[in-house]
């Protein structure tokens, strides 16, 4: 009778411990998911911020490169430029370097190293 009661108590205890463990694992997993989500969001925010900053910088570069801006800056410095005449242009022969060709020969024709 006593033995039977002990065995029941043991089973109940194991069940309680299992349920508690599973519940704790579940809570831990949810906390981890939440933490990871926050980290992803933070990283994403940094990424977006950098992208936005990059776009603003690109805009600034485009703005500085714009013919209107360049013209204003040159005029402010009293630099007057004009398109070159033919006699002011020297045509340089374009030297095209020989392309490096990788002479690849497959080291094996069969097996794992074979050229697939």
């Amino acid at each position: 009778m006593e033995k039977n009661t002990n065995s029941h108590c043991g089973k109940a205890l194991v069940s309680i411990l299992t349920v508690t463990f599973v519940a704790l694992m579940y809570v831990n997993q949810q906390a981890l998911i939440y933490q990871m989500g926050l980290k992803v969001k933070q990283n994403n925010d940094v990424y977006t911020k950098l992208i936005d900053h990059n776009k603003i910088l690109v805009y600034n570069v485009l703005n500085l490169r714009s013919p209107v801006t360049l013209e204003k800056r040159l005029l402010a410095k009293e630099v007057e430029l004009s398109m070159p005449s033919q006699w002011q242009v020297v045509k340089k022969a374009i030297h095209t370097p020989k392309k490096f060709v990788f002479d690849y020969k497959p080291v094996a024709t069969k097996g794992f190293l074979a050229n697939r």
């Binding site: 989500g37 977006t48 805009y59 714009s66």
Partner: protein, 573 residues
Amino acid sequence: MYKGTTPRIRKVLYALIAAFALLAVRLIFVQMGAAKPLSNIASNQYRLAVSLLPKRGIIYDRNRKELAITINLTSVFAEPFKVKDKESASQKLASVLGASRQDIYKKLSQEKGFAWLGRKVSPDIARAVKALNIKGIDFIKEPQRVYPNGVIASHVLGFTDTDNNGLEGLELRFDKHLKGVQGYRYAIRDAKQREVPSYEYKEIQPVDGDNIVLTIDNMIQSIAERELEDGYKKFHAKGACIIVMDPFTGDILALANRPSYDPNNARGGATADSRRNRAICDYFEPGSSFKIIAASSLLEEKAVRPDEKFYCENGEYKWYGHTYHDHTPHGWLAFRDVIKYSSNIGTMKAAQKLGPDRLYKYIKKFGFGEKTGIELPGEINGVTTHPSTWSKLSLCSISMGQEVTVTALQLSRAIAVLANGGNLVTPRIVETIEDRTGHVIKKFETKKPQRIISEETAKEMRNILRGVVDSGTAEMAEVDGYFPAGKTGTAQKVESNGTYSHSKFTASFIGFVPYDDPRLVIAVIMDEPRPIYYGGVVCAPVFKKVTAELMSYYKIWPKEAPKKKNEAKKNNR
């Protein structure tokens, strides 16, 4: 069954059974009857729909230089109920945002949950507001359309509103393509209404807007704008426009108007007048530049020979009770000289050999009185009337560019016919529409040109128009070594009482270069220039400067060494 239970306990039991029965009924009602609305209310409390804004497409010029891009800027908003010391907050914010303290205080005092304090402020201002660290002031990123070249091509590009909807120009015309499709992220929010990032349950990705590639060349556009601005200011004109076009394909390389505006600040600082694309939205009587139509049709119909002589009545000619004048008196002139010296009397006498029907046929053939079909919004037809409605004077008047109204683009297309050997081209300003990956969605093919006059007539007209620049009314358009050709126009404007004004004129010069192998067509129009109003004096120099720069830009070298250069070299020696 309930032996041994007291009646009191039984009563409690019955009460409990009844209560549970009621609960069961309620549960059934909640589950079966009111499930949907209740579940909606519940989900609205914890669910959050975040809008994912698409990127508006980029507009490129023909060399893939960005003309319009989108950047993200910070907008500042307040949650007024969260701001404690409104007085101090409004003072601090006013100094940073550059707004009045009263306005900000008013916004912070209203009984709303949300109030904008600054939309799309500069990064520096956003940083300064963040540094104030005021509770209840928050930030949101919003896309802003920007135009790195400022006023350059503003009438072509147009601009957008605060919510990035196209309002003018190509931004309006291709808004559907540029805008993209908004996406959504459905997430869960916590008790403080913050998004819980790990619990997204659905995401619909935004579809970014398509990119547009134009036929405009940024460099040609800026040269054309600069020279037009100079002419516009020098002659105090009311308005001006310039078009640079490829005569063979109809590609618009530059299109500019004055007055102009900066599309980066269009909503704040541009008047309706400065926003109007005059090159396609305004019509005017072309005056003598329209003589190219009469001359081409006369030669094509073989109604006159280039060397046929006309008596120009020494500058004064009466026709049906109306006296016509030439600006310089001439006696006998060959037909080519009639055009060269822009004699009204000679032209109208020649036109009489053609007759109203044939002249009208060629006016229509040259594309007047109908839209050119360019992809820009707001293009108008111009006015050409049928010969059945013409008066006795109409044939003469129309042959010299009166009683007919045209747009600058129609005139450019007409002169392109002579430049390309007799074909009417369809102007094109958009080359392709591409998606974000560069895949072409829509290609605006060059439409097949229609032959409207013969190659011989076109060649003869090119020679005649070369004479106009060489020693006629447009000597100021001459560019040494490049041999441009063209036609001037000086048209009296019509007053409100229907009579021709003696103080208001429309000056024009339409031409191409080089005359024997045309590469470019350039049309310059000035509205009410003062004090000088002749097309040959007002518009021809603009043509000359633009031509000179563009020839160097295209690396087309002069055929003869420029005189000035020779002299300079001699001096150096």
